[in-house]
């Protein structure tokens, strides 16, 4: 649920990075935080375990500047990927306006991706949101694993596993190297803002 402040002309929207454990959601946010410091007027908040795994979420507000006279602030969140943290994942999804699904390209993580996208669909349903209607971008992360001799799934297989029905825009990426991290972000922001504009016109 985005919030629009007509007095100060500010729009706040929430984008959540979702995906299985260790797929690179936090690494995406860390890369954005590092490369776009001029657009982030805040420290990155991370609620994690002692073992450095995300316990609740990572967060920072990303300042998009002015769009049509409105200051647009995008709240970027990750969810905890581990299966056992589903209740906290649901909490982070509350009020979500756009989702980036980060899939792990490693062959051995194939089933985890499928379980996670189904979990996303279920959790969105709890908030009366449809995975086929919400702005969604899919990122096939860890393409760089090939360089280390680790077998990765080909994109056709990933598309067929995750995106066959959804037909969301998708990117190959390496969050560690920064490949297509910003492109993924730009795409989801574009989709989210377009969707908000459409909703506003319908309400008017």
């Amino acid at each position: 649920m985005a919030f629009i402040n007509l007095k100060d002309k500010v729009i706040q929207a929430k984008i959540v990075y979702y995906g299985p454990g260790r797929c690179g959601k936090t690494t995406n946010l860390e890369y954005i935080y590092d490369k776009c410091r001029t657009q982030v007027n805040s420290e990155m908040v991370t609620v994690k375990t002692q073992g450095d795994r995300t316990l609740f979420f990572d967060f920072f507000p990303f300042d998009m500047g002015k769009i049509n006279g409105y200051d647009v602030k995008i709240q970027l969140y990750t969810v905890p990927g581990q299966v056992k943290y589903n209740s906290t994942r649901r909490l982070v999804l509350k009020g979500v306006d756009g989702v980036v699904f980060v899939a792990d390209s490693a062959v051995e993580r194939r089933s985890k991706n499928i379980i996670s996208i189904r979990n996303l669909e279920e959790n969105l349903t709890l908030y009366n949101k449809n995975i086929r209607e919400i702005p969604l971008v899919i990122q096939y992360n860890k393409r760089d694993l090939v360089k280390q001799g680790i077998e990765v799934l080909d994109v056709e297989t990933l598309e067929s596993d995750i995106n066959a029905e959804l037909k969301a825009p998708s990117f190959e990426a390496s969050a560690v190297e920064g490949q297509n991290v910003i492109l993924t972000l730009k795409k989801i922001i574009y989709y989210t803002m377009s969707s908000l504009e459409k909703q506003l016109k319908q309400e008017q």
């Binding site: 919030f3 402040n5 909490l91």
Partner: protein, 128 residues
Amino acid sequence: MILGQKQLDKIHDTLNENLIGSGVQSVMLIDTAGNVIASVNNGNESIDLYSLAALAAANFGAMSCMARIVGEDEFSLLFHKGEKENIYFCKVNEELLLVNIFNNQLSLGFLRLKMSKVVEELLDVLTL
């Protein structure tokens, strides 16, 4: 959620008169998704509002889940006491929360008394 100038002005007036005027250092009206709807302070606070709102919404959501697990609809008092600063959360409706930061010169009881009036006024403003 969209709020216009008139509603936001009234929200600011209500928070200023009832809470800042009573000694609360900083108060934020946030939604349960973590967006900042309005914030006022006594001029001596420089808090990272957006981070605090994200954490406060998550904390409130987690507390609500815990309440349900132990068989309660909700916990009526959400209060964190620090050495100098304290935080008190108050639910306005299903979507909105008030996050109050205050020091030890103000009692929690007094703040809770003020809060029922504030919530009533905020609900009136939201129906404008």
